[in-house]
Amino acid sequence: MFSFAIKRVLSTIPVMLFVAFFVFSLLYLAPGDPAALIAGDQASPAEIARIRDSLGLDEPMLWRFLEWIGHVLRGNLGVSIFSQLPVSTLIAQRLEPTLSLMGLTLIISVTIAVPLGVLAAAWQGTWVDRLVMAIAVFGFSVPVFVIGYLLSYVFAIRLDLLPVQGYSPLADGVLSFLRNLILPAMALSCVYIALIARITRTSMIDVLSQDYIRTARAKGLGAAPVLFLHALKNASVPVVTVIGLGIAMLIGGAVVTETVFAIPGVGRLVVDAILRRDYPVIQGVVLLFSMGYVLINLGIDLLYTLLDPRVRY
């Protein structure tokens, strides 16, 4: 399995570079001039040209990309056109808030969604099932920013329990960390809970109709052990898959959530970079996201073998 993991990681390097090149090409072909943005609205063409020249923006796209790859292979993601700070520093500054938001969202979502899905399957067709599915439909239908504003209005403005915005690093204390993060994580969880609960329900319904479940019940095993010990483990392969793939949705949702709650995360970093055409930052973050996806998929594949012994590599 170790050699499989190594091969898998190595084989994805060209994929990551292709993705970075693709995104870079798209941005390069799209109009937009970082020099003009640095110079300001009232800059003359001559001033913009001077800045373009100093930034090397007139060099051919392929040359700039190759130069960037050369730096990346030496462990250097380049320097932001605007802040003049290393891209690795910018990403490092923003990574903790985003990972914290995603991590807490994942914990909240799985903790709530899996039991909801199991209960809906166990009481299929009853009011419990209908209620869970209604929650799922709500979670899917209402945009994250609407839920964010709603939560903020209730818990931060009306009840004055939590802050409206901002991020407090974990190093500054767990309490303030959670106080700042709980609302954004709850907002982001809604869609994720809906997704996981639906998949869990479907998968559980499928498993609960299997012979071995009927046998377990016939042998007099209680409802809880049947559901959570026998059925859930076998139903969890598609659930794990959707949790992994759903992280892609989380990244998209994190951009919105970070904006609504003013969290200085990677999502906002990349949106700002795109609006400013800060090419090195965009490339660095895309590379990071690509790597994240690869590792998540690898993790899911490896997890399959633990959940289902029939899966072998």
Binding site: P31, G32, G40, D41, S54, S83, Q93, A262, P264, L269
Partner: protein, 521 residues
């Protein structure tokens, strides 16, 4: 004994908490109107870099509340009888934020660097500006001919501002590259290690800064830092920013969006006021070198059709938030005049279009859709052009694309453009010489490249005048000519609105938001 110890511990705790509260009260939290793109106020005309500059750097001269230029770092100055030589002496005891003294050498290096990117600085250089240090505090400026705008240039508040930085930085950093060392001469110190680009900037009180003894006035006077620390938190969402202000998580929200003003006015503990009295000069910029607007009659037709009130009504509901001014100068400028400016008249505009021989070339409007103001103004312009018989095409894009596309001098069918909407600070539209929009020096002019020798000659003449009445008369002549050439179409002034905690005192209203002089009740 135990009781005493307990009491002592409780007292210590109370004092700690009290200190903590006091420290917290000394932090002023600001939501700025945008993010600083590059930390160098000499680099370009970005207003956020200018605002950052006022935190960290000081200037030789500065504009006071009445828009008069007053000495700031300068103690005394004199001008020779022929108007060609200026002598300046710095105030005693001026120091940079690293504790080193500010010298003539630093001033000269800074001004030379600034002048490369600034239009007034370039004009100063064109007059043969030669700087010389006489000693550490005294220096001279010698010109090849007299020029009436020397102090206006050195005290200008529009970006880029002639901020003073150490010579070791100014000399070592080319004017088109951002400085990496942020040692400044102003009332606050930039805390670089706390900087999270796009999210947060922090500043501390500069212990070496020596304020002037006068009261603070506009951008001039005593810049006394009354808080220990200032934090700029970039909050991209306007509603979130207002909520944070209501809860006291921030103290000042710069540039509140118009739709949230009623909510802010209702909020407890929140006050709302104009950021400044000059506002931004909203305008329709025309490409004068490509059809259809290379035809002056079509440009005049649009000028005749535009009713600033209709445009402003598309973005503001409260008339006090903006006003149309039928002038090429900012409404608050001493040179503002209605001379020659046509009264809005659609029928007359249609007649001008018919008279122009318009061949049906569509006007291409660049619409920066993420900007609510620009998008609304483009929509109104589009309809207005159709109403007067000009074909249009609206190209939707983001502002970054607009800034790139507007550099194109190609015809509209080859990726060019006809119109973009912009709202530069009204400060840059106060008088004809520094006036960005009126500049009609062809290739060197702002995008749209208007070309008119008469306007350029009069602008040069204006710089040589010192008498206000004469200046006013000439400014009016320039406007009369601009009404014929129409380098752009003024829409009006829109005020930026600031919301802040009502327990703050000493908030100033100069053209750039500044954070000295502010304390809590």
């Amino acid at each position: 004994m135990k009781c005493l110890k307990l009491t002592g511990a409780l007292l210590a705790l109370a004092m700690t908490l009290a200190c903590g509260t006091a420290l917290a009260a000394d932090v002023l939290r600001i939501k700025p109107s945008g993010d600083v793109k590059a930390l160098d106020p000499h680099l370009g005309s970005d207003s956020m870099a200018r605002n950052y500059g006022y935190m960290v750097y000081d200037t030789l001269f500065a504009m006071d509340a009445s828009l008069a230029i007053k000495p700031q770092m300068v103690d005394t100055w004199s001008k020779s009888d022929d108007g060609k030589t200026y002598k300046f002496t710095l105030r005693d005891g001026l120091k940079f934020s690293d504790g080193t003294p500010v010298t003539s050498k630093d001033v000269i290096a800074s001004l030379k660097r600034w002048s490369v990117n600034d239009s007034l600085g370039q004009q100063l250089n064109a007059k043969g500006a030669s700087w010389a240090a006489q000693d550490d505090r005294t220096f001279t400026l010698t010109l090849s001919e007299s020029w009436g705008l020397v102090l206006d240039a050195l005290g200008k508040a529009g970006a880029p501002v002639p901020f003073i930085m150490p010579a070791r930085i100014a000399d070592a950093t080319p004017p088109n590259e951002a400085v990496k060392d942020h040692t400044g001469s102003g009332p606050f110190v930039f805390l670089g290690d706390e900087w999270v680009p796009g999210a947060k900037l922090a500043f501390a009180k500069n212990p070496f800064y020596k304020p002037r003894s006068e009261e603070a006035s506009g951008l001039a006077g005593g810049k006394v830092a009354k808080v220990d620390r200032i934090e700029w938190t970039i909050i991209p969402d306007q509603q979130t920013a207002l909520d944070a202000l209501r809860k006291g998580e921030i103290d000042i929200d710069e540039d509140l969006s118009a739709d949230l003003i009623p909510l802010a006015k209702e909020a407890e503990g929140v006050a709302v006021a104009n950021q400044d009295d000059i506002g931004v000069a909203q305008q329709i910029r025309l490409n004068t070198i490509q059809p259809p607007f290379n035809n002056p009659l079509l440009r005049k037709a649009l000028l005749t059709a535009v009713n600033g009130d209709d445009f402003l009504a598309a973005v503001i509901t409260d008339p006090s938030l903006g006003k149309s001014c039928q002038s090429f100068y900012s409404c608050s400028s001493p040179y503002a005049t209605k001379a020659g400016f046509p009264t809005p008249d659609i029928e007359k505009a249609r007649a001008l279009v018919a008279q122009s021989g318009y061949d049906g070339t569509p006007a291409v409007l660049l619409d920066a859709t993420e900007n609510a103001n620009i998008h609304a103004f483009v929509t109104v312009t589009d309809q207005l052009l159709k109403d007067i018989g000009i074909k249009t095409r609206v190209d939707a894009m983001d502002w970054a694309t607009v800034t790139s596309r507007r550099q194109s001098k190609e015809p509209v069918d080859k990726g060019g453009w006809s119109i973009f909407i912009s709202g530069p600070g009204g400060l840059d539209f106060l008088e004809p010489v520094g006036h960005l929009g009126l500049r009609s020096n062809c290739e060197k002019a702002w995008f749209g490249w208007p070309c008119d020798e008469q306007i350029e000659t009069m602008r040069t003449q204006f710089a040589g005048l010192t008498d206000l009445a004469q200046r006013k008369a000439l400014a009016e002549k320039i406007q009369l000519r601009a009404v014929e050439t129409v380098p752009y179409v003024p829409i009006g002034t829109q005020y930026q609105i600031r919301a802040y905690r009502s327990n703050l005192t000493g908030i100033l209203t100069p053209p750039a938001p500044v954070y000295w002089n502010i304390a809590r009740k």
